[in-house]
Chain length 378, copies 3
């Protein structure tokens, strides 16, 4: 959390800090055959506050809440212990932890290239929830690699009248090339979810353009799920001011009581160039996108860091003739302006198509959505 | 935010602070013909916490939430840029900003003379919401004057299934006389609201005595609105320990689909005297009431600042024979005790009358309401 | 609030601090005749954040919220004035204050011996709510004794459409023996509640094993209450590494409109031994359990403080043939590990029986529940 105060004991073993992020979005859509999809408005996408700190050199905690939409959401809320080994650093988290789901899925919402994550993240990786509650572990190697493993159950807003779903999740990445100027990222991820009879509803409902417009989703009916399995692959590369990333993900959902199984697959590819020369931000430790180091902050009289990006993404749940899943794709051109390390403005334009077989917006429908975001991190 | 810590970088360009306000109210009503209006109880009227700061000399942010009623409400939540010009200072706010609606309407809830704002604020100025989400601007002149202009859409808890309402709002004030001991305030305000078909419900529901008693409102049925226009005038004056203020406001509501239009008007006048000699608080910059400078704080062994005040206010939505709006008026005598700059106790007694033509409390009804508040600001 | 920063003015009269507690629980039940009672899951039991401070040597405030369950709950939210007298110290609280209800009921949730309080606290003491909103007072004597008295109305989430319930509550304790190594605690408590016609619903719904499992309650139907009266007795003792406590409570509920009255009684006894030698924590000032002083904190390479405890508890609302209240009892063995003064792990195993006459789980039903908690206080 840049900027906000961090207090520390003399030996640095004990720290306490406060942080937060605010994202304020504008959205406008035109061109849909459905009038109620051609809507305009603004919203606070995220309003997060957190307290975090260390209680010993090896023991940390974080308590983070989100207040967007005039409601409370529990985000990171954990106790974490870390230990250095010969081969790297191991961390164990107990509580609610942002899941290590994929390249775009694991990237902080502060630093995604576009206002919303890609279809692989939204349709596949995040299906069991972006925050896993239970035990999460990660091992960060010394050769630009990491592997994570989590055994969790349920989310923080499940009912207390039935058992929670059990989720096993893993992800690994390795950067086989890292010359400083050039990096190649390889990654793989997957999970297995065992649905409790009390929380067995599954449906695909994937963001295809932006979050504000709640009518603009690729969606299918609710399926009475017994278990699901996913896997995904990640490929990305950076060289100088250029960066690119591609992801594929597949989710198999097994129905309860002899119902019809189905599967969803999604893919996405994005390319970007930094107009002001700073490299795209990327963490070789975690294998995720992060923010560029702004060379000339606006708050010091500079012009900030400017990035121009494009993305093509698609999601397909048309595989089952019986389960009426949807399909859709979108092409986004985006401009990102980091005024400094803690302020950012984004502008996205997305040409999208959805082809739903259920819900209020069935059949092939096309449109254009403009999204803008102002963000401050403290 | 008085009292709570404010951290600052050595050059003062970067600051971070935490603030809040807590208001705990008691309410008791007698004399109504309706038993369910003669109720007694207490509530937390406001529980606010905020983080705020500067990220550069010209760039500020504020993130404020309200937790009263066991729910989350977004209040000030903005990024603001300011610049000094030859004629004064300009500020632009992006996000959610307390609206510059009128003399009482714009006065902070910490410093209103009585526990609740007047009918002009509650029935006219605040109809589109006390917080405007979008772009708000203000220009503070060098001659005790200011003008504001805001273009906003929606509120923070609108549905994401339809477009937000668009609102254009402006207010200006000027103090033609300001001798230090004597101030005369002139002000004007107005707005235009374009209702989205998804958020077209309008109804008058005006507080006539206090907030706790939810049955004690001047109220009318919901109207399917297409647009509305308001204007208002403000006159106030202070001399020595005396202060007075008067406001008038009118709201025209145009119905959708050839329905019946209606209008509401409201007026209010209040006078006060400081028993302990301190002048009433008034900001010549913003044209609003604020707190007195307490000469002898209780926390330093003094008696604090005591103010005695009276107000007459009325609201009238009886203009349309078809739209069944209500009417009502009230006379309040109030005592305000500022223990110091951040603690306050208020005691109000209101004789009120409502004459509703719809809802559960129709016909002429009279009663008396005692309201008390304890407040701390940190 | 251990650990989190506390800022103070040079003379110490003005302070500001931030604190919080996080409790993350796991729960698993087996052996019930009802499948939906044999459930497993985890939850955040409490997520609390507070701001607190002194605004003068004698004047304090606290503003505490709970965010568990993705909702907002107001907890301590008060202004408090204290004064030293010849015989002791008096404190008056205005606002929402954790009620002084009984030995286990008044013990902070940070320091209860088991994950949940006993049946006396849950069925009797806390029936009118754990937080009382109004005026609470306490007088702390100079001979290990105190007495409290509160006149309050309603809770923080009552509707504003009817009067709040009025509650009068008192508790006193005295430690006739206090040699430092040996303490004997005597206590008594009671309250009278006058139900408003708008808030007249009463039902017994008592936790018998843990909180996660919402199906595991001793419960009865809703009764239309006119008033209720309770009283309770407390006996506890500590000597060296041993501690024990017993409580009895009775609640009489008088029905409205000539309905059938009923009463509930509950009792509980618990014994404990400190495996690592530290005395059990107990406050002779307030007459409540608190945390042990951890001799060898884990964060300093030690093993922390370990306590082994057992409890038998019961609740009985079978007294009325007409009102179909429930009955139940449970035996818990618990292990508590204080890693240091602000971190704790609890493990409980409870053998329980319920015999409900209404609701979804009627008749005699037995089971076993394992509960675990990880807690951090900052």
């Amino acid at each position: 959390s840049d900027g906000a105060p961090e207090l520390s004991s003399p030996n640095g073993d004990y720290t306490f800090g406060i942080g937060g992020r605010i994202q304020y979005d504008f959205s406008g859509t035109t061109g849909s055959d459905y009038n109620s999809r051609n809507i305009t408005g603004s919203e606070f996408r995220r309003i997060r506050l957190d307290a975090h700190g260390k209680v010993a050199g090896w023991l940390m905690y974080k308590s983070e809440l989100d207040f967007a939409g005039n409601s409370v959401g529990i985000r990171d809320m954990y106790l974490a212990a870390q230990k250095n080994f010969e081969l790297g650093k191991g961390v164990v988290y107990l509580g609610s932890k942002f899941s290590d789901s994929g390249l775009d899925g694991r990237t902080s919402s502060k630093y995604t290239w576009f206002t919303e994550r890609n279809t692989v993240a939204n349709a596949i990786s995040l299906a069991p929830g972006a925050y896993n509650v239970g035990v999460s572990t990660a091992f960060y190697g010394k050769h630009d690699d990491h592997i994570s493993f989590a055994v969790t159950n349920g989310s923080t807003n499940d009912s207390n009248k039935s058992s929670d779903n059990v989720l096993i999740r893993s992800r690994a990445h390795w950067d086989p090339i890292n010359t400083g100027n050039t990096i190649v990222h390889l990654g793989a991820n997957g999970y297995y979810e065992d649905y409790s009879s009390g929380h067995s509803g599954f449906s695909d409902r994937t963001i295809i353009a932006d979050h504000y417009n709640g009518n603009l989703r690729v969606e299918g009916p609710e399926l009475n799920a017994d278990s699901s399995t996913s896997y995904g692959f990640e490929l990305a590369g950076l060289t100088g001011p250029f960066a690119a990333g591609a992801e594929y993900g597949r989710l198999d959902v097994n129905a309860r009581n002899g119902g019809t199984d189905t599967h969803i697959d999604a893919y996405s590819a994005q390319v970007g160039v930094s107009l002001t020369g700073e490299k795209f931000g990327y963490s070789t430790k975690q294998g995720v996108w992060t923010h560029p180091d702004v060379a000339h902050p606006v708050t010091q009289g500079g012009i900030g860091a400017w990035q121009l990006m494009a993305r093509y993404q698609a999601v397909n749940a048309h595989h089952s003739a019986i389960y009426g899943g949807g399909t859709g794709h979108g092409t986004t051109v985006g401009l990102s302006w980091y005024l400094n390390d803690y302020m950012r403005v984004l502008l996205d334009d997305t040409l999208w198509q959805t082809d739903n077989r259920s819900g209020s917006y069935t059949g092939v429908d096309n449109g254009n959505t403009v999204s803008a975001r102002t963000q401050i991190v403290f």
